[in-house]
């Protein structure tokens, strides 16, 4: 069972997985108990015309036991779940890394606020499906949708959140291990739902700095030229945004090609990053 959960690289995933295994042991014990009793009873009390079945209508003591014991177990599980849920959902850590991910049929539109830290300013950078985040830092993510309900699912981060058109939902995640992770859509969103996925690049500090500096060159961050140079139009022109038609081909490629594709379109000098 242990290896069936995908590798966890998030700060709270350990608690979720531990809770999962806790429930696993409880339910396994209950299953074995009930199944064993059932098999024993079926064998022990199989038809035998030389005896009569026990004539009883029940037992109040037993009823109380099997009402109260499960109730206590369930309340315990509820309380354990409550504290982890709050850790995940309600205690959002402070951070300066923010991105906005907007679902649209059938891509993730990723928006980076740029050096000014503000969305919807001239130095924003928008790209489809590629999320670059630094390793070991909390990331605040604003989730929205342009058309239907999507759900951003990052299995290795134990992260899943629906994205609703008409709302911006704030969430957070943190990846503690550098690498490339798949980020599929988990909510049926139309004929292209299957295969709708993005890629989460969790960069080492050096790689992240290199990616960041390539996107927003340090010397020019204060100049209006640099901001202008990184408008959406230019990024579109550079081919960084893949449209729905080219997506399936790109997805069918193995990981190595994905890396190449990214380095080619994004950070040519950075191919050693992975």
């Amino acid at each position: 069972m242990m290896q069936w959960l995908p590798e966890d690289v998030s700060p709270y995933g350990g608690s979720i997985d531990a809770l999962f295994y806790f429930i696993y042991y409880i339910t396994a014990a209950a299953f074995i108990l009930v199944t064993a009793l059932m098999i024993i009873f079926l064998y022990q009390y199989r038809r035998d015309d030389s005896r009569r079945a026990v004539y009883t209508h029940g037992n109040t003591g037993l009823e109380l036991v099997w009402t109260i014991v499960p109730a206590l177990v369930f309340i315990g599980l509820g309380l354990a779940s409550k504290s982890i849920w709050e850790e995940v959902k309600l205690n959002v850590p402070e951070t300066d890394v923010e991105i906005r991910v907007t679902g649209k049929q059938f891509n993730w539109e990723v928006l980076y606020p740029g050096p000014d830290g503000e969305f919807e300013t001239a130095d924003d950078y928008q790209v489809d499906n590629d999320m670059h985040v630094p390793v070991g830092k909390p990331v605040r993510v604003f989730l929205g949708s342009k058309d239907v309900i999507h759900s951003l699912f990052m299995p290795n981060l134990r992260f899943k959140q629906d994205m609703l058109p008409g709302r911006l939902i704030e969430a957070w995640f943190q990846a503690n291990k550098a690498g490339i992770y798949e980020a599929p859509c988990a909510e049926l969103c139309g004929f292209g739902h299957s295969g709708m996925k993005g890629t989460l690049y969790v960069d080492t500090p050096e790689d992240y700095a290199a990616w960041y500096d390539k996107r927003w060159p340090p010397a020019e961050t204060n100049g209006s030229d640099a901001s202008a140079a990184e408008t959406t139009e230019e990024v579109l022109a550079s081919g960084a945004v893949m449209d729905a038609e080219t997506m399936p081909d790109a997805e069918a490629e193995p990981a190595a090609t994905e890396e190449e594709a990214v380095s080619a379109e994004d950070v040519p000098a950075d191919s050693a990053a992975q």
């Binding site: 009390y45 038809r47 009402t67 629906d162 969103c189 299957s194």
Partner: protein, 617 residues
Amino acid sequence: MSEAGATAAHDAHAEHHELGFIRTYIFSTDHKMIGRQFIFASILMLIVGGLLAMMMRWELAWPETPVPFTSWISEPFMYPADEDSTVGAVEGLSEYVDPYPGANFAKSLGSVGGAHMDPAFYNSVFTMHATIMIFFVVMPFMVGGFGNYLIPLMIGAGDMAFPVLNMLSFWTAVPATIMIVYSFFVEGGAAAGGWTMYATLSADPTLSGVDTGADLWVISLLILGVSSLMGAINYITTVVNMRAPGMTWFRMPLVIWSLFVTAILLLLALPVLTAALGMLLFDRTMGTSFFMPGGGGEPILWQHLFWFFGHPEVYILVLPAMGVTSDILSTFSRKPIFGYKAMAFSMIALAFLSWIVWGHHMFVSGMNPVLGTAFMLTTMVIAVPSAIKTFNWLGTLWGGNIRFTSPMLFALGFVSNFVIGGLSGIYMASTPVDIFIHDTYFIVAHFHYVVAGIIFGMFAALYYWFPKIFGRMMNETLGKVHFALTYIFFNLAFFPMHFLGVGGHMRRIYNPLQYEFLHDLQWWNVFITMSAFCLGLSQLIFFANFIWSLIAGKKADKNPWEANTLEWTAPSPPGHGNFETTPTVYRGPYEYSSPLVKEDWLPQDRKLGPEAVTASH
């Protein structure tokens, strides 16, 4: 008296014939004929829903290879393939997993009338599989079919309270059924938004690409809701008003309790669905914005409405199977049901609690996380009555004298599957764990253990009451073989879905190979598909047995199982008006192995001497 009764039955029989073919077999107001009509209609739809599942399973095991026997389906749903392209498509799979499991099987079978499935059609297929199985198989079979057949017979009534309303209930379900099947054949195909039809995908035809098909889906369910509502009113009235003398509430069989509680849930839940469907239809066709944010609407409102109906709906589906199981376990254990009142009250508790757990479908929907905690706690509470029922079933087996007949085996199979389905529900009730397994195959495994597990309750009911309904016995040996194969392949097909879910395999995707992290799990998909095919093929044994027994089965006695409840005191099959004389009830339904009598059963209507009556409450 028995002679007079026989004459009365004969007269009733004659009167029955005087009604003519149409009034007897088509527009019948007899609850028994209406019950049979529902049973036959839902068995036909079971075949449709099952075949859709087979198409889906093929697609998941060998994605984007030709699906056998589908070349008759036209474009743009299926695209023709020739033998070379079949072989090529299958061989292409080894790019992802090498060696690819079942490749030779897929190659040879895929070239038999194989055609490529369009991804949009795949969405229609799983949407319609769920819609048909839930609304057109389980509900009409258990509630429409057995609810109709059993309620008057088991409470000692001559018919339902409103026979014409009852007839209308069936004949309203017919156009709904025709419409849902017809929706496959309109331009754009059938609804493709999942059976949950989440807005905004469902609310704007341009977003899903399905126009008329989804409208027909909505209208069909609206009509079906009217049908169920008529049934619910009838059941409630009949149970409240028409119980035979002496049939007090706590002498009713648990299957009647379950159908009564189900009818109340239907009466209260359906208006919510009807309202939601109405809003959806207005959004789709008249440009309103109940669920469209562009016009000030709220997509999550649909989810609240849908699941406010949807969770009681789950209990509407499962309660009758629980009732059937209770009756059958008691009968064939030759023992009173363990904890009768606990069983009845736990069903009432399930019914009440089912109204305050709907948010557990929405933990990651964007609903306030604080609300998630509240719904988690109510969900943990609703697990308690389910546990009570399971332990009482075990208590019923304890100390019994168990007869392993086909209905008993299927009832035990239902309990076994319900235990697994109930326990797997706990994972998803826990909010943090649900973050990961929500919308994965874990939930698919869970609800198939519960809802597809109801099929075991359905088969148990059919094998058990077949002699009463059709006057003939089903073949026991074939029944046992059918059970063994169904039980084995059901578990082989659905249990591994838990593993897929734990690995993160999303539901409702048509090609798992598009995700690298799922490649290592793909052989489970092939395994599940093979098991599902075997599960499907095993049902041929049932159909053979069913049809053969209908025509040439051994004639059934009044009471072939030596059971206590009132329907077994009527002839098999009962004539018009059911009972030769209105029965009087002297005791509860589960007086098996009572010390008062020599036999190990004591029918509810059998009058004992005065001293014995006092002794048996």
